[in-house]
Structure formats: C-alpha cells, structure tokens
C-alpha cells in the first residue's frame, strides 16, 4: 500500500512542480512590478516623515529664537534641559495625563451606560441615536466656543441661569474650575465616539446568551457584569486606544477657551509647545518639547498596547 502510494506520488509530482516553478516566477515578477509601482508613494511617505522629524531634531539642538534673527548657534541638549525644568513642563505633563484619564473615564463609563440603555427598543430610538452621535460632527473650536459663551459663561450662560433659578451662586467655570471645564467639553465631544462603537458592539451580543443567563438566575446587574461587560471588553479597548491617541494632543478646546490659563492650570503638552514656539518665538525649545512629547506619547502607547493589545489580537 505504502509503495503504491509512493509510486503514485512520484508519477504525479513532476507536473505540479513545473507548474509551481512557472507560477513562482510569475509571482516574483508580479512582486517586482508591484514593488516598483508602490515605491514612489513609499518614498513620498518616507520623506513626509523623515524631513520634519530630522528638521525638528536639528532645530532642537540650536539656540533658535525668532526674536533674534541671525546666528543660530549649536547648544547641545540645553533646550531639552530648559524645557524639562520649565515650570510649565510638570504642569503640562500632569494636565495632559489628568485630561486624558478623566475624559477616558467619563466617555467609557457613560458610553457603556448609554449604549446599554438604548439597546432596548423604545419609540424614537432612531432619533435618539442620531442625537447622541451628533456632537461628534461639530468642530472642536465651535463646540468649545459654544460651551464657553452660551453654557458656562458666568453671566450669560445657561448654567449660570440654572444656578440662579435654583437660588445658587453662578459658577465662573473657567476661573474657578478651568481644567474640569475643559474636561467637560472634551468629554462631551468624545462621548459620541464611544457610544457609536459600543452601541454597534451591543447589537452583536447574542440574545440567547442573555436568555441563558436569565435562566441561570442572573438578574439585570449580573447579566451586565458577567455577559455584557465581557462582551464589550474589546470595543472598550478600541475606544481607549483611539481616544488616547487623540486626547494626548487636545489643543483647539484649550486655545479657544482658557488659552492655557489661568497660569499653567489648563496647559497641556501640546499647548505648552505651541506657546513656546509661537508665543515666545523659541523654535529650538518648541522643537525639543515636541520631541519630548513624541517620546511620551510612545511610552503611553507602549503601555496601552501591552495592557489591552492582547485582548484585541485574541480571537473569540
């Protein structure tokens, strides 16, 4: 039997081999063509990345202020030293982390709660869904201005009016709780994103699983805790990853409302770099700050991927 099958193989094998050879050569030829066709765009992308990066690195080691034209002497790592020891840096650093952390917490918690709530059918669900998503389509500058002037303004804002109706002292948000105000605005903007992702994920939750849990004696909370939340783990990880990337560089909301103040209270890293470069015209220091921000973002990304990347690649 074995001899027979060997013979059979021997007589059959040569044909596919020759086929494979020609197929392989055709394949490699196609690959070469593909490489040539792709190379221009790869080259452009490479330049696109390399040029600004090397320019930034180059500027970061110069004493390069726009207020003093002329020579730009090499100063080594002095810019880095100044940036890291600047009183704005530690403030910017902690503000960035607080902003990211707080907005993530709000959007994930409220996002999960709202998407679970609107998963049960009720009249007008379609409209409610659209309304929940719509803040995402408003420009950050516009929404920040609306919040600042129409909602949080201590004299003409809706919140102030509400407070007065209830007989309370109106809160001057941007003077008393500037960072909380910014967090509120940014969270409002990013909540729709979380809802969008989690709402879609909720629709793929197996109904029979929930029914099985009901028969197993699980109440509403137990079902949420043991069925819904584990089901949402992956989309929550996606929300956290993507939001972190964008929240590390929040700028427009700060620029249009507080301008980083009062003092450094609402200055995050992105805003700090902006103020170095374009308010103090120190290109060298801004470049050093930018590179530090890149490194920090990478550190955060590394931990994020370590933390939740595993749950993303794991197949269900």
């Amino acid at each position: 039997m074995t001899i027979q099958s060997c013979d059979l193989n021997a007589s059959v094998v040569p044909m596919p081999v020759s086929n494979e050879n020609s197929a392989a050569s055709a394949h490699s030829k196609a690959q070469r063509v593909a490489r040539w066709l792709v190379s221009p765009s790869v080259l452009v992308l490479l330049l696109w990345m390399i040029v600004p990066l090397s320019m930034t690195i180059y500027f970061s080691v110069l004493q390069y202020s726009l207020l003093y034209p002329g020579e730009h002497p090499f100063v080594g790592l002095e810019n880095y030293e100044f940036f890291l020891t600047d009183e704005g840096f530690s403030a910017g650093m902690s503000n960035t982390l607080i902003l990211v952390g707080a907005v993530l917490a709000i959007t994930v918690v409220l996002g999960v709660a709202i998407s679970v709530l609107i998963n049960t059918p009720f009249p007008g669900r379609g409209i409610v869904r659209v309304m929940l998503i719509s803040p995402f389509f408003i420009m950050p500058t516009v929404s920040a201005l609306v919040w600042k002037n129409l909602l949080m303004h201590p004299v003409s804002g809706v919140f102030a009016w509400l407070a007065q109706v209830m007989g309370m002292e109106p809160v001057d948000w941007f003077a008393q709780y500037p960072l909380s105000a910014i967090i509120l605005i940014v969270a409002w903007q990013w909540l729709p994103f979380a809802i969008l992702l989690l709402m879609t994920a909720m629709q793929s939750l197996d109904k029979e699983q929930v029914e099985a849990a009901k028969l197993d004696g699980a109440g509403g909370w137990a079902i949420f805790r043991h069925i819904t939340l584990p089901h949402l783990a992956r989309p929550i990880a996606v929300v956290v990853m993507i939001e972190t990337i964008f929240l590390l560089s929040v700028f427009a909301e700060i620029f249009t409302t507080t301008g980083g103040g009062p003092g450094y209270e609402t200055t995050n890293l992105a805003y700090l770099i902006y103020s170095q470069a374009l308010l103090q015209f120190d290109v060298g220091m801004a470049s050093a700050g930018g590179l530090i921000a890149v490194v920090l973002a990478n550190i955060v990304a590394f931990f994020l991927v370590r933390l939740i990347g595993k749950s993303l690649t794991e197949k269900h």
């Binding site: 197996d206 029979e208 699983q209 029914e211 099985a212 849990a213 009901k214 028969l215 197993d216 004696g217 699980a218 109440g219 137990a222 043991h226 069925i227 584990p230 089901h231 783990a233 197949k315 269900h316």
Partner: protein, 367 residues
C-alpha cells in the same frame, strides 16, 4: 414531582396569534418532543414554558405550582439553546458553575456538582478550555452540562442538534437518550426533524399553525394518525395521498373509487360517511408492493428508483398526476419507464374525510 400542565395557553404578537390555545399534560420523567414544520409555534411554546416569552392568556403549572407569571430563574427549569449560548469568556468549568455561583451555593458543592456533570458528559479533560477551543459536539455537551448541574425539574431543549453534522447528530441523539435514562428527568425537546422526534420521544406532540394536532407515542402517531397532517408529517418517505370517492358500504367495509376507476374495499365502518363523499386514501411506502400489472390494485409507470442498499424507493406515476413512493427490497431492479402494478396492504391504509380527519379503522375500534 415534575409534572407539567399547560392549560389553554395563548400567545399573540399584535394581531398574529402564534399559539391558539394549547392544552398539554406532561408526566413526570417523560421525554416529550414538540415537532412540527417551522413557524408552527413549537419554539414559542418552549420559550413560554421557560419564561422567555410572556403568554397572552392561559396557565402553566409545574409540579402543582403555577409558574405562568414567574421569572425564568424562579421556574426551576434549564434550557439548552440551539446556538448553545455558552458564555464565551468563561471556561467550561465556569460556564457550568455560573448558575450555582449566582445562587450562592458553597464552593465545595459547586465543585462536586461540576465534576459530576463533567464525568457524565465526558468533559473532565476539557474543564479549563474556553468555548472557542471546543468542537461543536463538545460545546453541545457543555450546554447540557450547564443544565445538569442545576438539577432542574424540567430540561428544555431547543433544536439542540441542528447545528451539528449528520454523524455527530446521530451520536448526540443516542447520548441524549442515554442521559434521559441516567438522569430520569422530565425533558421537553423541540425539533423539526421527525427522526429525532420518533427516536427520542416517549410521547410526541405534533404541532401545526399554533395548534396541537396530536399527542401520542411515536408508534401511535405512525400507525394511527388522527388527521392527514400528522399522517403526512410522520414517516419518511411521506405517506402517499390519493383522492377517492365513496361508492358504497356494507357492514364493516367501505368501498371507494380511485380517479383511475379502480375500486378498493377497506375495513371501515360506513356509518359516519355517506355514499358520494370525497375522501383521501393515505398509504405508506412500506405498505405498498410492486407487482406485475395484471390483477394489481393499481397500475402506473415506473419513474426513478432510488437504491439505498437496504431498501429501494420506487417512484410510480399513476393516473391523475399523482406519484406513489413504494418501498421495495434492497435488491429490487426496476427499469425506468416500465409499466408496473402496485398492490396495497389495505388493512394498513388510512382514510381521511374531506376535512382531513382520519376515519377510524374497524380494527382499531375493536382494539
């Protein structure tokens, strides 16, 4: 006592009535199968018993306790779903212990019960796996294990084998039957597959369009279907139906005429039917024989013959555009297009009135 009584159960979605008054009595330790074509309401009935569907009216009583308005968890029954519905992020052990943990059972008892269920279902070596690492049959067993650990009064199965391939389905069918004996529990099983119904059930409930057509043991349904629907639904290949007309009756015999002109005399009391009435003759493939065309009950032209080895199914075209499927021995050689005779075993034939209800045979009335 796990005796389940269903009284006048109705369920409607808006104007559409899914269950149109179900009365059923399921005895303790009984294996009952709900069978019927899709959309007949069998799954809705099962889900109503489980408490996953609210009923419109009627009553469900389990072991003397009215459970109609209770939550699923308070009913003391367990269900195995078509999709298994295992919890994907929990391992097999956790899947099975979930209900017990929610109920606050102490750890040692849980451990013992899970071990016991795993032993019965041969899952012991898989306890730490996640559902995604299991095969279809293993998942099925975990789903059953999840039900077993709770020691419910009633087990409910919603088409549990329909996602398995044919070989596995036969194997799991046997295991389910074995399990029923081992656990000695009341089981209710929903399927659209009449083979599963016939092989597993102590009693079969045939449903159609929200109504129960007949309740009986598999052989009762096979030999004495109460109407044309049950007769056509139970048995493969299907029972053949030939329209006929009553032309006379005498004593315990009824004579009918087939469209092709042949006269047949059946052992039926002619009292309940008048001469000239339209009736339907029903006859199963195994109660017909292919004979030579002379002095046969009927002649026809042989169409396709299907050889299964053990049997041969011969399709015979007869007058009036009807096709009879005749079951012959495995070595029967038929020629396509041949004119053959078909002989009926008239003592096993069924007769239905114009409403589709069976006319009781004399032999059965005597029995």
């Amino acid at each position: 006592m796990a005796e389940l009584k269903i009284n006048a159960l109705r369920k409607s979605y808006g104007d559409i009535e899914i269950l149109k008054g179900i009365d059923l009595h399921i005895r303790d330790h009984e294996f009952v199968v709900f069978v019927g074509p899709s959309g007949c309401g069998k799954s809705t009935l099962l889900r109503s018993i489980a408490g996953l569907e609210e009923v419109t009216s009627g009553q469900i009583v389990l072991g003397g306790r009215d459970i109609t308005g209770l939550k699923p968890a308070e009913r003391d029954l367990a269900m195995v779903f078509q999709s298994y519905a295992l919890y994907p992020h929990m391992n097999v052990r956790k899947n099975m212990s979930f209900a017990l943990e929610l109920a606050g059972v102490d750890k040692a008892t849980i451990e013992a019960k899970v071990k016991d269920a795993a032993r019965i279902l041969e899952l012991t070596h898989l306890l730490d796996r996640k559902p995604k690492d299991l095969s279809g049959g293993q998942r099925q067993r975990v789903a059953i294990g999840r039900a077993i650990v709770r020691h419910p009064q009633v087990f409910l199965f919603d088409e549990p084998l329909s996602n398995l391939d044919a070989a596995l389905r036969v194997q799991m069918r046997l295991e389910l039957a074995r399990l029923h004996h081992e656990l000695n529990a009341t089981m209710i099983y929903v399927t659209h597959d009449q083979v599963e119904a016939m092989t597993l059930a102590d009693r079969v409930v045939v449903m159609n369009q929200g109504r129960i057509e007949q309740v009986g043991t598999p052989l009762e349904l096979y030999h004495h279907p109460v109407n044309q629907f049950v007769a056509g639904f139970i048995g493969t290949p299907k029972m053949a139906f030939i329209p006929a007309r009553v032309i006379g009756g005498q004593g315990h015999e009824l004579t009918i005429q087939l469209p092709s002109g042949e006269h047949l005399t059946l052992p039926r009391s002619p009292d309940s039917i008048h001469v000239g009435a339209e009736v339907t003759l029903g006859i199963r493939p195994e109660h017909m024989r292919i004979v030579s065309p002379e002095n046969a009950n009927l002649t026809g032209q042989l169409d396709v013959t299907e050889h299964l080895g053990s049997d041969t199914y011969c399709h015979v075209n007869i007058d009036g555009g009807h096709t009879l499927t005749v079951r012959q021995g495995g070595d029967y050689e038929g020629r396509f297009g041949e004119i053959v005779g078909v002989d009926f075993d008239l003592s096993r034939a069924h007769l239905f009135d114009s409403e589709g209800n069976a006319l009781d045979s004399v032999t059965r009335q005597a029995a």
